[in-house]
């Protein structure tokens, strides 16, 4: 595993919070008290250099908000973020520009993440012109070709004159990756990069991303709801529930020996392509759906759906992440009993 060879921390996130206060009209704000949506509610994690760190959760778990916080597309409510030894929690415009060169993002929808009126060449040149990278058109073309070759778009010259809608989903996601690589970033935030791509080619994209990561020594923050690809793709996994990390550790440990009842439920729910299950109704340990982040349950926030919840879980303050060794951390009071 790469993190053992290079244990240096690239991104350190501490007690990061993002609370949204909904913007209401005058009439509405008179009538109702404003409900604060606690999308991210105090999370801490480290991402080491050269590591692939997966953030897993259902919709509403706050994983995408975390990605946006790391990208500095939104400002955190509180907490700190240290990137490469530098506090980037609140930085001035100049530093932000430098930060944006080092941290890049791949979006979920390869159809929507590129301006439909831009040709592939324009898409890839945009970061160069934004960051005023020196060079004439020929020099830029050279860099664009190199980036396209990196993501195995061949022949690159031919693709440069095409529009995004002329490409398949997989090709677009490659181009989106090339766009992030052109500035030589240190870290990529990939928000569900393959969830909209056909299953048959999903692995191809993940392979490509992994190759790029090895070639260029990149660090990934991989955001997904898909445990199967996370296991294959990531070194470490953090499971989020309602804005908190409930379990975190090496990928294999999380999947093979989950400690938190929520992680267990997630794993149980994943369908496997094996026969003999059609007439079996699957035991689902947890019921219902994730509550609204505007209305987080008191105590352990998972207690409303937890089959093992006791009165303690409902009343005592929320359990913090606890390390049981090997970097495997969990936030469950009753982990030993279950």
């Amino acid at each position: 595993m790469s993190e053992n060879k290079n244990p240096e921390v690239l991104l350190k996130v501490e007690n990061l919070k993002k609370h949204f206060t909904p913007h209401m009209g005058l009439a509405a704000s008179l009538g109702k008290a404003r409900k604060v949506v606690k999308a991210v509610d105090g999370i801490s994690f480290d991402i080491k250099k050269g590591e692939i760190f997966a953030l897993i959760g259902e919709s509403g778990s706050g994983k995408t908000t975390t990605g946006k916080l790391v990208m500095k597309l939104i400002e955190p409510t509180s907490g700190t973020m240290i990137f490469d030894g530098e506090d980037v929690t609140s930085i001035a415009k100049k530093q932000l520009e430098a930060y944006r060169r080092k941290v890049q993002m791949i979006f979920q929808d390869p159809y929507a993440s590129m301006n439909p009126r831009f040709k592939i060449r324009d898409v890839l040149e945009e970061p160069l012109s934004i960051h005023r990278i020196e060079g004439d058109r020929a020099r830029h073309d050279e860099m664009i070709v190199k980036a396209l070759e990196e993501v195995k778009i061949t022949p690159p010259e031919e693709f440069m004159t095409r529009f995004p809608h002329m490409l398949s989903g997989g090709q677009r996601q490659r181009v989106a990756t090339a766009r992030t690589l052109i500035l030589n970033p240190k870290m990529l935030v990939a928000d569900e990069p393959v969830s909209m791509i056909d299953l048959s080619t999903r692995a191809e994209i993940l392979h490509m991303m992994k190759d790029v990561q090895r070639d260029l020594g990149l660090t990934y923050l991989y955001i997904t709801h898909d445990l199967s690809t996370a296991r294959y793709f990531a070194d470490r996994i953090a499971v989020m529930y309602l804005g908190r990390i409930v379990e975190m550790g090496p990928a294999d440990m999380i999947i093979d020996k989950p400690l938190h009842p929520y992680t267990k439920a997630l794993i149980d729910a994943v369908p496997e392509p094996e026969s003999g299950k059609v007439d079996v109704i699957k035991e689902l340990p947890i019921s219902g759906e994730i509550p609204s982040p505007a209305n987080i349950p008191a105590g352990c926030r998972f207690h409303t759906r937890c089959p093992y919840a006791t009165d303690e879980c409902k009343t005592l303050p929320e359990p913090e992440l606890e390390d049981i060794g090997g970097g495997h951390m969990h936030a469950c009071r009753r982990w030993k009993e279950i």
Binding site: L73, Q104, S113, M114, P116, R117, P127, I130, R179, L183
Partner: protein, 467 residues
């Protein structure tokens, strides 16, 4: 975007556009209008209409309040049409120190009702005698008028035969008509035009019959010295029907006026809509992009402008300032930039939420880059449609202001023609050709842009939604 893509996009657009009948009609009208503007110097009958619209002297040879020439087609008695004869055959008979110069003008007369007047006009230099005569289809030659022009220096030479040839006409009548009839006439009450264009017969005084055929107006002069010069000799046959669209009571040719007004209508429409849509689109994008307090403030300003009654304010401004056309355009822009704001704002709000905008931000793009590189290009199609749709409004507002007599007095606009018509009681006197064409022109120009605009809107709008 290079030229090739642009052309490809254009041909896509065209292949959809040409399926829209109304849009095509609108486009055809617009093309005709633009051609008319380009060829105005060639097709306009009165070349100096733009500078001389309000010059009474320029129009004095034209017929007054005459219906269009084509109304002849609908009446049993054909009336002479106002015609200009300006291609004389010139002949110089050299004599002993003097020479006779002779101009011959052919005029083919095939009407029932004679012209109101036949006017000879020229510019002259020096002193010379002049003789105007006519050779009728029946071979008879009448010497209509003669006099000596003295000491001219580029002055106008003007002979109006309806007045000046009365005695000659009386004599001609006396020779031909019966004595009994002649008793009722003297050389003042005689109508030279009727006599000149009627068959020579005993009953011509009481029951004249039109003599159709080729008339020849002859002007002769004696050139006695070097400094005698006659330029621009021409006749005007003043009929009781005139031109393509008739004339007004100020003798102005309405077709020329309408043609002169066309370019102003288009100019007002184009300039106003271009500037105001540009401003409005930018305003809407900025308001949507920045959101929050900026958006609220901009919205408030927008509401302020929208709630102002445009026409009354425009009237007050025009009455106080006696504005030029540019001032009127500026005033129109001040009130019509609000047109696209709401739609653009809501569209920009939607575009702002697109992932590729977020992706651009993640790449480090600044707000102006996002607005101009990513958002504005998407709104250009809508802007074009919106421009086309706001042209009629601008034309109508200018016409309204002009109709009230508050327009720019140095140019000719359709609104002003209408204003003159109304203040001269054209409607009461049945001078429909003075009122209907300018009104129609305003309506058709507005309609063509509305057609084009809605066709563009139909084609360009759904594309935006799906992308």
């Amino acid at each position: 975007m290079n030229l090739k893509d642009f052309l490809a996009g254009l041909s896509d657009f065209w292949s959809e556009f040409r399926r829209d009948k109304a849009g095509l009609i609108g486009l055809a009208i617009l093309v005709v209008a633009i051609l008319a503007i380009i060829f105005e110097p060639v097709i306009v009958p009165f070349k100096e209409v733009n500078s001389k619209w309000r010059d009474i002297n320029y129009w004095e040879d034209n017929s007054s309040g005459a219906p269009p020439a084509w109304t002849n087609a609908f009446s049993s008695e054909k009336k002479a049409v106002t015609t200009s004869l300006d291609r004389p055959r010139k002949e110089e008979i050299e004599g002993d120190g003097v020479s006779i110069r002779r101009y011959e003008f052919d005029y083919s007369y095939r009407y029932d009702q004679p012209p109101l007047d036949v006017i000879f006009r020229a510019e002259g230099w020096g002193t010379f005698p002049i003789l105007v005569s006519v050779e009728r289809p029946d071979g008879q030659v009448i010497d209509l008028y003669q006099y000596v022009a003295e000491g001219l220096d580029g002055d106008d030479l003007r002979v109006t035969l309806a007045n000046d040839s009365k005695s000659a006409a009386y004599q001609f009548l006396a020779v031909n008509a019966s004595e009994a009839d002649m008793a009722n006439y003297d050389s003042y009450s005689v109508k030279p035009m009727v006599i000149m264009f009627s068959e020579a017969s005993p009953s011509m005084a009481t029951a004249p019959v039109a003599l159709t055929g080729k008339y020849k107006f002859i002007v002769q002069t004696m050139v006695m010295s070097e400094d005698v010069r006659i330029d621009n000799a021409h006749f005007t046959v003043v009929g009781s029907v005139s031109g393509i669209l008739g004339s007004d009571t100020g003798k102005r040719d309405l077709f020329s006026g309408l043609l002169a007004g066309l370019k102003w209508a288009l100019l007002i429409g184009f300039v106003t809509s271009f500037i105001s849509v540009l401003l409005g689109v930018l305003y809407g994008i900025i308001s949507a992009y920045f959101g929050g307090a900026i958006d609220s403030t901009m919205n408030f300003i927008y509401e302020l402008f929208v709630s102002m009654p445009v026409l009354p304010i425009l009237i007050v401004i025009s009455a106080v300032f006696k504005p030029s056309i540019w001032f009127i355009i500026a005033a129109l822009v001040v009130f019509s930039w609000t047109g696209p704001v709401k739609t653009v704002r809501s569209m920009a709000m939607q575009i702002k939420e697109e992932t590729y905008i977020e992706a651009a931000r993640a790449l480090g793009a600044g707000k102006w880059r996002i607005i101009f590189k990513h958002m504005l290009p998407l709104l250009i199609p809508y802007s074009f449609a919106s421009m086309a749709l706001s042209v009629p409004g601008a034309i109508l507002y200018e016409a309204s202001v002009s109709l009230l007599g508050l327009g720019d007095a140095t140019i000719t606009t359709w609104g002003q023609i209408l204003h003159d018509a109304l203040s001269s009681g054209a409607v009461l006197n049945g001078l429909w050709w003075w009122v209907v064409p300018p009104g129609f022109s305003i309506a058709i120009m507005g309609m063509s842009f509305a057609f084009i605009g809605s066709a563009m809107d139909k084609i360009l709008h759904p594309k935006l939604r799906t992308r």
